[in-house]
């Protein structure tokens, strides 16, 4: 499988045509999609049309763009003009946005080719891609297991070669979890570094769009394209555009790595613990220094995260009324409130309904102080613990997920058990910190394990450098799933 970097260089040299690349991607889609279900919408005609246009301009010597000819998959909660954007929900099954998200404009400006819209947990609420209205996505490494979530379609597509790179979104781990489960690279950027304009909101104070790729270089390349200030998102930070690929060098000498013990709690499987420690020791061999540490407030991160995420969700998802857009029913004999309650009952799946109702509860009068306000205070403690840790260390290392990918259906009946899977990923969202998951090994039965690295705000360069050094000195990214 070619990387984005190789595609761009071969198209530029005239060695390959964009049409050939896009056709070969759809070949793969036709071979594996039946088994994996990565996509909600496949844009074969549109992508081939765009490929021909790009080839035409290339034939005139115009090869401009850092992603020229690169097949990209886009999570289905990112608005694409005229192309249905469903959030994998019945309530948006026919929704066609009338504008593009900022990240889509940026992709197109750089010559990317969008292959399709990827499957996800409904409204990004989940860790397994099983709550999708369009059926679950399967893990390319083991078809009986989940690909992780909520950006499970994006991760599985990249791992199986149904796309070269992908966009996901991460509210509490939704990029890093499936990256870990599918053995690819996924970055949750610093809050405010990528525009959320056109990202269908779940929990705005936590979520970021981010890159997913088969190696660190492609991840850094895609991040360089999507990061940057956008006046249409008032939480977007005024950062100078950067080429993050320049930070990729094999150099971790003297990098101080902290390993917080809270990330190895009781739910952590032994094989994960051992594999992650092996990775830390590998980095030590390569010149980094490490020490263990403690961030005591992390014990409360998961509870605080779910209170905040559900509260924000209850407010954000109040907009779905079955009138202005989305799923609708007949209403000749019903009144306003009955109609809306019925549409929302039939349009949302059970997990989305649970979160909206619980979030309404934690924000309601009499309970706001007991849940929401307290959770925001816990958030302050978590931020302070990270700040303190970053006085001692350059980056923190941890497992991305406490377990390898689990079986489809194994946890879906028990919401709290599923929430527990997010235990190691939510701290970075609460503190707004950049965090990357990279492949760091496999269990004896061949299931992927991911290493999570967390850095201070806007230090994606450091994450990329450490991840790149690890990748170049280990062989995990070269492994390919059998499904291919």
């Amino acid at each position: 499988m070619l990387s984005a970097r190789e595609i761009v260089s071969r198209v530029k040299s005239g060695e390959l045509k964009v049409t050939e690349i896009v056709e070969s991607t759809f070949d793969r889609v036709s071979k594996t999609e039946d088994r994996l279900n990565c996509y909600v919408t496949i844009l074969q005609e549109e992508a081939l049309k765009r490929a021909r246009l790009l080839d035409e301009s290339a034939s005139k010597g115009k090869v401009h763009g850092r992603l020229f000819g690169v097949p990209v998959a886009v999570k289905d909660n990112i608005c694409t003009k005229g192309v249905r954007t469903t959030c994998s929900s019945r309530i948006l099954a026919n929704f066609k946005p009338v504008y593009n998200a900022t990240v889509i404009e940026r992709l197109e400006r750089e010559g990317a080719v969008i292959i399709g819209k990827t499957n996800m947990d409904e409204f990004a609420m989940g860790v397994s891609t099983e709550t999708s209205y369009f059926g679950p996505t399967r893990n390319p490494w083991d078809l009986t297991r989940v690909p992780g979530g909520s950006s499970g379609g994006s991760a599985a597509a990249v791992a199986a070669g149904e796309a070269t790179v992908a966009l996901g979104s991460d509210t509490g781990g939704s990029i890093r979890c499936p990256a870990s489960f599918c053995s690819i690279v996924g970055l949750k950027p610093t809050y405010g570094s990528v525009s959320r304009y056109g990202l269908i909101a779940y929990a705005n104070s936590l979520e970021q769009i981010g890159p997913m790729a088969r190696d660190v270089y492609d991840c850094a390349l895609l991040f360089s394209v999507i990061a940057g200030h956008d006046p249409r998102d008032s939480t977007s930070v005024n950062l100078k555009p950067k080429d993050y690929t320049v930070f990729l060098r094999e150099e971790v000498k003297g990098v101080k790595i902290g390993v917080p013990k809270e990330f190895f709690g009781e739910g952590t499987q032994k094989v994960v613990e051992e594999t992650v420690w092996k990775a830390v020791h590998k980095l030590e061999d390569l010149g980094a220094e490490y020490d263990t540490c403690s961030l005591p407030s992390l014990e409360y991160a998961l509870a605080a995260y779910y209170i905040i995420a559900m509260s924000e969700a209850s407010s954000n998802l109040a907009r779905y009324d079955g009138l202005r857009y989305g799923y609708s029913e007949e209403f000749t004999d019903t009144d306003w409130f009955t109609y809306i309650a019925k549409v929302r009952r039939n349009g949302f799946g059970p997990e989305v309904r649970r979160r909206i109702i619980l979030g309404t509860f934690t924000l309601s009068s009499g309970y706001y102080n007991r849940y929401y306000l307290k959770a925001l205070k816990v958030r302050t403690l978590i931020r302070m613990d990270f700040e303190k840790a970053f006085k001692r260390f350059d980056v923190l290392a941890a497992p991305t997920m406490p377990t390898p990918p689990f079986k489809l259906g194994e946890k879906i009946e028990n919401p709290l058990e599923l929430y527990m899977c997010d235990i190691d990923t939510v701290p970075a969202n609460l503190a707004g910190l950049p965090s990357i998951s990279i492949p760091c090994g496999f269990t004896t039965s061949g299931l992927p394990v991911g290493l999570q690295l967390i850095a201070p705000p806007f230090r994606e360069d450091l994450l990329f450098r450490v991840a790149y050094t690890f990748e170049k000195n280990t062989g995990y990214v070269k492994e390919e799933p059998e499904v291919i």
Binding site: G322, R344, R345, L358, A375, L381, R383, P415, Y419
Partner: protein, 97 residues
């Protein structure tokens, strides 16, 4: 802690505030699940948070302003393009009163 943090009656009430109808079985199931989830949330009660300031947002941005310039608005037909029921440029809705 008492075994019930939220009763079935309260779940019904909150669901109606959230604008979501629930079936009888779902009311039972959600009540059980909500009690489990909320009891986990009560873990944060172990902390003394009296003196701690809340964090609403992690980015230190305040008063983000822009010039008040007139730009091209979304044309009406696009603004209501996705509305399932419409007439003469208006969105049709059920009876309110």
């Amino acid at each position: 802690m008492s075994d019930k943090i939220i009763s079935k009656k309260e779940v019904e009430h909150i669901a109606s505030l959230a604008g979501i109808a629930l079936s009888e079985e779902e009311k039972e199931l959600f009540t059980k699940q909500f009690n489990e989830i909320l009891s986990y949330f009560h873990k944060i009660d172990e902390l003394d948070l009296e003196e701690v300031e809340p964090t609403y947002h992690v980015v230190e941005l305040s008063n983000v302003f822009r010039e008040d310039e007139v730009t091209e608005p979304l044309p009406l037909e696009l603004a209501i393009l996705n509305a399932p029921k419409k007439k003469d440029g208006y969105i049709k809705a059920p009876k309110i009163i």
